[in-house]
């Protein structure tokens, strides 16, 4: 591009250098995109092209619906296959960004007659978008610290394990596109801030809209940007550019966000968004103040300030009072549970067991930081320091970003994902600056040594002369040869300063040749270590689809495909309208893979409903049968890992069922299932535990496998070994016993004498009595 602007032959050299540099960085960016895409394909190569885990199955199912029925049907979709008998309005409760994106890609490809299945498109959406995300990172970092840092940050982001864990091929989840949207929104914000262009401000609002469509994490943006604006105002960095960057975003962004059905009026009603409105007011006040300051004399201005401040204080006080009253009138203070647990990390475990029961909502451990961002954790401080020299609007933003994301990641392990881009940007800046210093020093030292052979006398007296002379001679050659962006940047940086100072600085940055070379080597080794770790993480740690398990044994690879085995069984051998009850973890998979109606699923919107299932699982057989029968359930599915040692099975999750069930139905008491505070299933287990449905369904006839009933997950013999089921019958157990499906036996014929009694019982056991939070079934 630069070449096009320079027709004059005199400037060809520089122009060529620019053009070459541009081509090179485009090439590098393309390669980064390829890297980001291909490092995420381990899951396809090692396993297969399949949707992973739980939530992606739901998204996949929604995408299938979308591609089959079109967008209007999608908005109006009432899903009667889940939350039976309540159902769920999918169109209004789902973040549609991901599904619309994949649906659009699918539609586009199919209109070109490229016959890719919806599944294939869904599987590869995440890798494609991670390539986009690394390009967005390049743009963002380039705005902050130049293209050298941009390229470094993009490379780092392309393979940061934290992001890989959420975006391997098949991990078709909201985060896959949301991280791209997040970074891109930040880029456009910084771009607007740097240029003051309304065009970019509009794009920014659109990118924000896309982010709102994609992920609930958009509240991070709508709180971080106001914080930055506030920071700029407080530190006296207010400018019209800041106004242009912020005001349109709030107005357009809020209007657009309200268009997304799942957000709707929440965009103006919930506390998560209040910060943005508050700052919106503040920035207008500040803008007004600056304007008035411009047209008044300093004396007049002082008078005006005292007047306005006193009135303003009163108004503010009233507004704040109203706001506080409004917020206080709602039970949770207008904050959603997940957001509250962000602010108060102990909130969820205290009040909402259903949030606390999800492992990704737990605070992370230190090793998980090392696992997920690896050496970046050490580079980040260096990057922060680099951002402070000099501190600009944009670099203050990334500093704020990293600080906030470190806090949030400390609260919830899932938000590590938000930290990863920030860490990459910071580390990219740090690496690029370090390389600048070291290569600069090497260049300088080499130039000096070559000159000193020429001209021995001058070196004593005027080393600086040689430095600059050598630099122009040598430097230009090197730059021409390598067209390195970094070399250029190095010279640009001091250009902003007074020249004397810059010279002093340049001198300070010069390191001895050997030190620089060793440091460079060490940096490269650090990078190599990071690459090795990332590839290992991508290949080994984060590629398992979790619906297929494998284990390496002496006689080769062993595949445990039990989940799909039983979902396939359900799908082909039960009636299409049968209801299947299981713990909510398996709800999405059951609806997507088995196409059967479930009672609860991973969209945990109705706590009472989940508590009902939890209660049934924790109740004795008869009571459980009655609960399930009242819910029209025909099959009960439990996941059992005791035979092969699969640890995340229902018995290990059972205490959460008890807690969640007990939270709504107080007759389920956690203490009844614990012996001296210990959760046991062996002979010391409590009778309540040994008689509950979950225990019975998991261990039914288990003892006959080895004669002892040795549970390989709990590493103990089970407590109650021989028992019969009276109200349930086994209809299917998968090959490794991981999934067991039971059918509710039909109700027994009534015996004449008991008929009356039963009748009175059923009337009292209606749904109405449930609202009183009593146990209607015992």
């Amino acid at each position: 591009m630069a070449a096009l602007e320079s027709p004059q032959p005199a400037a060809t050299a520089t122009a060529m250098r620019h053009a070459f540099g541009n081509v090179l960085s485009v090439l590098i960016l393309v390669l980064i995109g390829v890297l980001a895409f291909s490092i995420r394909l381990f899951s396809v190569i090692k396993y297969e092209s399949v949707i992973h885990e739980f939530d992606p199955y739901f998204n996949y199912r929604v995408t299938q619906f979308l591609s089959k029925n079109g967008i209007y049907e999608f908005w109006n979709w009432f899903d009667d296959r889940t939350w039976y008998p309540l159902g769920r309005v999918i169109g209004g409760t789902v973040y549609p960004g991901l599904t619309l994106t994949a649906g659009t890609i699918w539609w586009f490809l199919n209109s070109l007659n490229i016959p890719l299945s919806v599944e294939t498109v869904c599987v590869f959406t995440a890798p494609v978008f991670s390539a986009f995300a690394s390009w967005a990172t390049y743009l963002l970092t380039q705005e902050v610290k130049g293209s050298g840092a941009g390229l470094a940050a993009a490379v780092l982001l392309a393979m940061v394990p934290s992001y890989i864990s959420r975006s391997v091929a098949g991990s078709y989840d909201n985060e896959a596109v949301a991280i791209f949207a997040l970074i891109f929104t930040f880029y456009l914000y910084i771009k607007t801030l740097n240029t003051g262009s309304l065009f970019y401000a509009t794009l920014n609002a659109l990118a924000y809209f896309y982010m709102v469509c994609s992920w609930g994490g958009y509240t991070f943006i709508i709180n971080l940007i106001p914080m930055h604006v506030l920071l700029c105002i407080v530190t006296g960095r207010y400018s019209p550019r800041l106004y242009i960057a912020y005001a349109p975003l709030v107005v357009l962004g809020t209007l657009l966000a309200a268009l997304v059905p799942v957000v709707g009026f929440n965009a103006v009603l919930t506390s998560e968004h209040f910060a943005s409105f508050l700052v919106f007011i503040i920035i207008h006040v500040v803008a007004l103040v600056y304007y008035i300051k411009g047209i008044l004399t300093p004396k007049m201005f002082k008078v005006a300030v005292t007047l306005v401040v006193s009135i303003g204080m009163v108004v503010c006080f009233i507004v704040v009072a109203i706001l506080v009253a409004l917020v206080a009138s709602s039970p949770t203070g207008g904050w959603s549970g997940r957001s509250l647990s962000l602010l108060d990390p102990t909130y969820a475990s205290k009040y909402i067991p259903i949030i606390a029961s999800v492992s990704e909502h737990q605070p992370p451990t230190w090793p998980s930081y090392f696992m997920d961002i690896n050496v970046l954790a050490f580079l980040v401080p260096a990057g922060i320091i680099a951002c402070f020299s000099p501190l600009s609007d944009s670099s203050s933003f990334v500093v704020l970003y990293i600080v906030m994301s470190v806090y949030f990641s400390g609260v919830m392990v899932r938000l590590m994902l938000v930290l990863a881009p920030a860490a990459c940007i910071m580390s990219g800046i740090a690496l690029s600056q370090a390389f600048d210093v070291f290569t600069g020093s090497i260049k300088y030292q080499l130039g000096r040594s070559s000159n000193s052979t020429d001209d021995a006398e001058d070196t004593n007296n005027a080393p600086k002369d040689d430095a600059s002379a050598g630099k122009t001679d040598k430097g230009e050659e090197i730059v021409k040869e390598r067209s390195s962006k970094k070399g250029k940047k190095k010279e640009r940086e001091p250009a902003d300063k007074p020249s004397v100072k810059s010279k002093a600085k340049k001198k300070a940055l010069v390191l001895p040749l050997e030190t620089s070379i060793v440091a460079l080597l060490l940096l490269i080794m650090l990078g190599a270590f990071y690459v090795i770790h990332c590839v290992w993480a991508a290949a080994e740690a984060y590629s398992a689809p979790s619906i297929v398990l494998t284990s390496q044994s002496r006689d080769g690879l062993h595949v445990f495909d039990d989940f799909r085995e039983s979902y396939a069984w359900l799908s082909h051998n039960t009636d299409v309208d049968d209801k299947v009850a299981s713990w909510w973890d398996y709800g999405y998979q059951t609806t997507a893979m088995a196409n059967r109606t479930v009672i609860v699923d991973n969209n945990t919107w109705n706590n009472t409903h989940i508590a009902t299932v939890g209660t049934a699982m924790s109740s004795p057989e008869k009571a459980a049968w009655e609960i399930f029968n009242s819910l029209d359930v025909k099959y009960v599915l439990v996941v059992f890992g005791g035979l092969i040692g699969y640890p995340s099975d229902d018995i290990n999750k059972f205490l959460w069922m008890v807690r969640i069930g007990g939270g709504v139905f107080p007759h389920i008491k956690e203490a009844d299932y614990l012996r001296d505070g210990q959760y046991r299933i062996n002979s010391e287990a409590t009778p309540t535990m040994l008689n509950c449905l979950m225990y019975k369904l998991s261990y039914y006839r288990f003892v006959e496998t080895d004669g002892k009933g040795y549970d390989r997950v709990r590493r103990t013999e089970i407590g109650k070994k021989h028992f019969k089921l009276t109200h349930f019958e086994e209809v299917f157990t998968s090959h490794h016993w991981m999934v067991r499906i039971y059918k509710l036996k039909p109700a027994r014929n009534r015996i004449r004498g008991r008929a009356k009694k039963l009748k009175s019982k059923t009337t009292s056991a209606g749904w109405s009595s449930k609202s009183e939070k009593k146990n209607p079934w015992v």
Binding site: S6, P115, D465, E491, A495
Partner: protein, 608 residues
């Protein structure tokens, strides 16, 4: 219930037969009938050899094959051959008068008319599905699978049969019971009836055999085979199976424990595997279903065949269903041939699965885009239609020949031929389309970056842009001039260094003179450029910088000249090197500072 209704049917049949008088067919005599029924798999395969003699005076060109209706309804495959000469005879369903409804009749066109005294041996192969009735109809997991076969010990024929025999090949297992008539023998797993002599037309004596069957009662309720022919060298076959176990239904629990119990597993009625015998050189084989790959399959291949042993996700008990897809690629050269200017695909019709009964098969042969004059030959009657399929960047779409048939058994695994015309030029259309697509894309990019798309040539922004372009060009010129100046300075410095080495004052002076004139020329060149920059409004924010740059450069020039003069003078005066250095030291400092500033300014301008 079904069982008893069949029995009633049989009785009715007997009644009707006994009262029947059949003058129309009595001309021919079957001198010898040998029947063999193979029930080792899930269907009954009947091979008969009939020796037909025409004792009458009229010559006969048609032969009637009859089956009891309950068999005839389940007839999947029927072929009639003669051994000498070896020929397939055409068979069609007939409905002659005077035959009761309980009998199905097929008429066979004889290869030559049988005149008086002629004889002919017919080899008949008939395959019946659904004739092995599970009895009991529902069994538990532990029970064995018992089925029942009903037939007639005597050959049902409109002709007089002189001598006949029947043998039933049973699977090598338990036999619960069988009808004992005269001349009944059980030898191992083979049950023999007959020989019976001189029976009148429409003789019938029902027999029932009740035995254990270990065969897989795998029935594909629907099978869609898509055969996609690509002239790039591949035939891609994709088969979608909806398989059900049509044996006795499972009653009660399914216990994995019992199923996997080591010493005596219970669940023999279920089948775990299906064996597919694919053509040799099959490659890229996959086996999956709606929800992903199924990892339980094994493949063995040699030069004659490729055997694929697939295991459904779960064992299939009676009444259980499953769905899966297998796909494989075949080398085109094995299946595509040319004849008389046409090409034809020669590929087998039915499923490659062994002993699989298909209730409904849909074969879709997808021909390359641009194929014309499509015709199909099949060895048996099928329902034909044509469709269009769009795939892989198609524009016109690919013609698809759709063949449908119900009740297909392995005997139908014969080759069909699809003839079509195709020109190889069409092969290039898609690559060319892609190439031109990318070409157009790049051309558009080039045009977009090169061309001027502003709507109004007089709009202020456009003018500003033009002006700015000019400013940039000027700036670059200024830069290049300054660079030249700097180069001249370097030359001057170099001459000084030469001086210090050689002490040649004259060359040094000459160098200075030439540099002087060069610098003057350059400053002359600079003037109009500077004037332009000052006048141009869009350069207002840069021109001070540029001016500063020029001033600094001037200053540097002067300083350098001064330094040069000092040094040269020093040499002329033969002062010591140290002396000269001391004198120029201060100048040197300034020069370096100036040079640095100039470079910074240049960088700054460069950024713009």
């Amino acid at each position: 219930m079904k069982q008893s209704s069949v029995v009633v049917d049989l009785l009715l049949l007997l009644l009707t037969i006994s009262v029947l008088t059949t003058p129309a067919f009595s001309d021919l005599v079957l001198s010898k009938v040998e029947r063999r029924i193979d029930v080792t798999s899930q269907f009954a395969r009947v091979t008969k050899s009939l020796k037909v003699v025409n004792p009458g005076s009229e010559s006969v060109s048609e032969f009637m094959l009859t089956f009891p209706k309950f068999l005839g309804n389940n007839l999947a495959y029927l072929s009639v051959k003669t051994k000498r000469p070896l020929a397939n005879l055409s068979v069609k369903k007939a409905d002659p008068k005077g035959i009761p409804d309980s009998i199905s009749v097929y008429s066979v066109a004889l290869p030559k008319t049988l005149s008086k005294g002629d004889s002919l041996t017919l080899e008949v192969v008939a395959t019946f599905t659904n004739v092995l009735q599970p009895f009991p109809e529902k069994i538990t997991q532990g029970e064995i699978h018992l089925v029942m076969l009903q037939e007639s010990a005597q050959y049902l024929s409109p002709y007089t049969v002189e001598s006949q025999s029947l043998s039933i090949k049973l699977p090598n297992a338990r036999i619960e019971s069988y009808s004992k008539l005269e001349n009944t023998k059980l030898q191992g797993s083979e049950l023999k009836y007959g020989p019976y002599k001189n029976l009148p037309p429409f003789s019938y004596s029902p027999i029932v055999v009740h035995f254990e069957s270990k065969a897989a009662f795998a029935v594909a309720e629907k099978l869609v085979r898509e055969i996609e022919v690509s002239h790039w060298g591949n035939v891609q076959v994709t088969e979608h199976y909806n398989v059900v176990h049509r044996g006795a239904q499972l009653k009660g629990e399914f216990s994995r424990l019992d199923f996997q119990a080591r010493p005596n597993p219970r669940g023999v009625s279920a089948f775990r595997h299906l064996l597919a015998r694919l053509p040799p050189r099959a490659h890229s084989i996959y086996y999956r279903d709606d929800i992903g790959n199924i990892s339980t399959s094994e493949m063995q291949s040699d030069s004659k065949k490729t055997e694929l042993l697939i295991e459904p996700r779960f064992p299939l008990f009676g009444g259980w269903k499953t769905f899966f897809t297998i796909g494989y690629g075949l080398p085109l050269s094995d299946f595509l041939f040319a004849s008389e200017g046409k090409r034809f695909v020669n590929i087998s019709f039915g499923s490659p699965m062994i002993d699989l009964v298909t209730e409904k098969i849909i074969v879709q042969v997808v021909l390359p885009e641009g194929s014309k004059d499509i015709s199909v030959t099949t060895p048996f009657a099928v329902k034909q239609s044509q469709e269009i399929k769009y795939s892989h960047l198609d524009i016109a779409g690919r013609p698809v020949v759709v063949l449908e048939k119900n009740n297909v058994v392995p005997d139908h695994n014969q080759h069909i031929q699809v003839y079509y015309k195709f020109s190889n030029i069409n092969l290039l259309s898609e690559p060319l389309m892609l190439i031109s697509g990318f070409f157009v894309l790049f051309i558009t990019c080039i045009i977009y970056t090169r061309a001027d798309f502003s709507i109004s040539k007089s709009s202020p922004t456009y003018l500003a842009k033009l002006q700015w372009d000019e400013v940039v060009a000027t700036l670059q010129e200024v830069q290049s001039i300054i660079q030249k100046c700097l180069a001249a300075h370097d030359k001057l410095e170099a001459s000084l260094r030469d001086l210090s080495r050689t002490g040649d004052i004259q060359t040094c002076k000459a160098a200075r003179k030439s540099t002087d004139s060069l610098l003057k020329d350059l400053s002359k060149e600079l003037k109009p450029l500077l004037a332009f920059l000052q006048s141009s409004p869009s350069a207002s924010h840069i021109s001070p910088k540029v001016e500063e740059l020029v001033v600094k450069e001037k200053e540097l020039q002067e300083k350098l000249m001064a330094k040069h003069t000092t040094v040269v003078e020093g040499y002329e005066k033969k002062s010591s090197g140290r002396d000269i250095e001391n004198r120029i030291a201060s100048q040197q400092q300034k020069i370096i500072a100036l040079r640095q500033e100039i470079e910074d300014l240049l960088e700054f301008i460069d950024e713009i």
